[in-house]
């Protein structure tokens, strides 16, 4: 099981701030995870529609589309950061 965390407008569009999911065995990368998540609900699909506006952290480290997700405990999905 992996804990998914959502922030900012990704959180608002998906409608929850976190969910715990069992990843299918064929979901091995961040890119595959996003494709799979987008199929879960219209909210997920809307939030993840434009992948260039999505950033991901796997176990609190910034990830790229090909970062492995097998064994991850926490995966956060959010827009590009705007702090400072």
């Amino acid at each position: 099981m992996v804990e998914l965390l959502y922030f900012a407008w990704v959180r608002e569009q998906i409608g929850v701030d976190a969910e715990t999911v069992a990843l299918p065995a064929n979901i091995t990368s961040v890119a595959a995870l996003l494709d799979w998540l987008a199929s879960r609900s219209p909210g997920h699909a809307a939030a993840l529609a434009n992948r260039s506006r999505i950033r991901v952290a796997v176990d609190q480290a910034f990830a790229t589309p090909d970062t492995p997700v097998a064994g991850a405990r926490e995966i956060a999905i959010f827009p590009p950061v705007t702090g400072g």
């Binding site: 959010f78 950061v81 705007t82 702090g83 400072g84």
Partner: protein
Amino acid sequence: MIAARLQSGPFDPAAEQAALLAGRTDLGAAVQFTGLVRADDGLAALTLEHYPGMTLAQMQAIAAEAAKRWPGVLGSIIHRHGRLLPGEPIVLVTTASPHRGDAFAAAQFLMDWLKTKAPFWKKEEWANGTTRWVEAKASDDAAADRWA
């Protein structure tokens, strides 16, 4: 040593700088940057969301990178979260160094990386109740890329 703190309340720039300089007479330069809530377009408030498990750790990693690049620089970075009003301070970067070049460079580096590598998200709020998430700026990415 560059410390990092994440807090909802305000900070005290004079105290931050005094803490770096205390007992030192080898520091000839101190730089302080304050980022403030700008409201020239009628903004009523700004809410800063963060990633509780990761944001402080990422700020500490940014601070450690600056300390590695400028070994003679002391500093601290403080970033607020939560709802802030126009004119309120959001972020404070303080550096001190024997010479001004390093103090300026480290402060700019810290701000450029905080803007682009620390997980914070700003939501704008207007008097009529409408809200909008701030978009990341290409100019911030370009500023951060200077240090690559």
